[in-house]
């Protein structure tokens, strides 16, 4: 028997919102199996905002839930997220250092880095928001000279896709061209994010 009375809150990085809902739909999970709250995806570039942001939501909402799933990896908090979670026994987080690792699978991610350390990864989300987050976010639009400074040591762009369309693949390839990197596409799907959400499924549908 799964405990349908258990109330779960997922607090995730905004960059995972669409994907979490896609997994939910693919698993045919009913509405109400979890509530979802997100922090701005832009926190990616300001990791010291992540822990306080999460803690605020936990403090405001935690009492209403039995379980809180944190939709982040360590994400550059330098272990700070794990230290914060020790204070809140209801919380658990996604495995690994960041979304690239849990989408690809931890050993697979390490293998890609082993293969070519100069790899820059794009997920569906980053392909969709490449212009805003990478080109504008890193000021390459304002200062074109920065492209070479950022990517001097990079050799290839690896698009680790969740639900790739021809359009997304073309966009990713364009991004690689823009950065002057070789392009590779590896369809990895939702990886550990899917297993993570699957825990919430009633037993019969858990392995959809």
């Amino acid at each position: 028997m799964h405990s349908s009375t258990q109330k779960t809150l997922i607090i995730a990085c905004g960059a995972l919102a669409k994907e979490i809902l896609a997994v939910k739909e693919a698993m045919a999970l009913t509405d109400g199996v979890f509530d979802l709250k997100c922090l701005p995806a832009g926190y990616h570039n300001y990791p010291n905002k992540i822990v306080p942001g999460l803690e605020k939501i936990i403090n405001e909402n935690g009492d209403n839930y039995d379980r809180i799933l944190i939709g982040y990896g360590d994400c550059g908090t330098g272990g700070g997220l794990d230290r914060m979670m020790e204070k809140y026994p209801k919380t658990e987080r996604l495995p690994g250092a960041h979304c690239y690792a849990f989408y690809a699978g931890l050993p697979e991610f390490d293998a890609m880095m082993e293969e070519e350390l100069g790899s820059f990864f794009l997920t569906d989300y980053l392909v969709r928001h490449f212009e805003t987050l990478i080109v504008k976010g890193f000021g390459i639009d304002r200062y074109p000279n920065l492209k070479a400074i950022y990517f001097e040591h990079y050799k290839r762009l690896v698009y680790i896709s969740q639900a790739p369309s021809d359009e997304l693949i073309a966009e990713a390839r364009k991004a690689a061209d823009f950065l002057g990197l070789a392009f590779e596409h590896r369809p990895v799907g939702y990886g550990e994010l899917a297993s993570y959400i699957a825990q919430l499924a009633p037993k019969e549908t858990a392995d959809v």
Binding site: N45, G76, M113, G139, I149
Partner: protein
């Protein structure tokens, strides 16, 4: 340069105003103006060391504070660094030739194995140079062997390591342990830095000093070699 009427003519400013203007220009990442200011101060007989310390390093220290406080982000800081570099290129040959070129010390710095983030490391290297260190930059992705080889070859007064990934931070501990095993650690202070680090982590891996930002790291490095006022 535009010839708009509010354009400031750098050479018409007195020394104090010019230095203040150079801080502003550095903050705005205006490389040509910073170079011009450097040239003017040298032309007025300023010692290259003072131009470096008062105009460039001080300007970059201000930039560092606003970066720490979230007012400036990476792209702006990089433009500032570019501007400072321009000024430093003019000063470097003069500094190298000058009589009192006594270096503050040798500093070997590198990003650790598995990590190719290098912006922070480069900035620290620049501020160290500004503080008079001879900086030996090992670049990115350095296994322990690279550090050992560089220590052997250059006999530095300080070793610095940078890491930006949670997964590469622990490697700093590996290097420090190896230095300890070889009896090098008791003579060589190791500084560590990178955004995900903190003092507790530095203590846990037995690092000598944690450097939160570039300006502070340069000051700490001077203190370590006993060259701080």
């Amino acid at each position: 340069m535009s010839d708009s009427e509010d354009d400031i003519i750098l050479k018409d400013l007195n020394d104090a105003d010019l230095v203040a203007q150079m801080h502003d220009d550095l903050y705005d990442g205006m490389a040509d103006e910073v170079k011009e200011g450097t040239q003017i101060l040298l032309g007025r007989g300023w010692d290259a060391n003072n131009v470096l310390a008062e105009a460039l390093v001080e300007g970059m220290r201000i930039v560092g504070i606003d970066f720490r406080d979230g007012i400036l982000f990476v792209p702006e800081v990089l433009q500032c660094a570019g501007a400072m570099k321009g000024g430093m290129e003019l000063l470097r040959p003069i500094l190298a030739e000058s009589e009192n070129a006594a270096s503050t010390g040798k500093y070997v710095i590198g990003t650790v194995k598995g990590d190719i983030h290098d912006i922070g490391k480069n900035l620290v290297g620049m501020m160290l140079e500004g503080a008079g260190f001879e900086v030996i930059d090992l670049g990115i992705n350095n296994p322990v062997e690279n550090y050992l080889e560089a220590i052997d070859k250059h006999q530095p007064s300080i070793l610095g390591m940078s890491a930006l990934l949670t997964t590469t931070m622990p490697y700093m501990g590996v290097v420090i342990e190896e230095l300890d095993k070889r009896g090098i650690l008791k003579e060589l202070p190791v500084m560590v830095g990178g955004a995900p680090l903190n003092q507790e982590f530095a203590d846990a891996i037995n690092a000598h000093t944690y450097g939160r930002d570039a300006a502070m790291s340069a000051e700490l490095a001077k203190t370590i070699v006993g060259k701080n006022r």
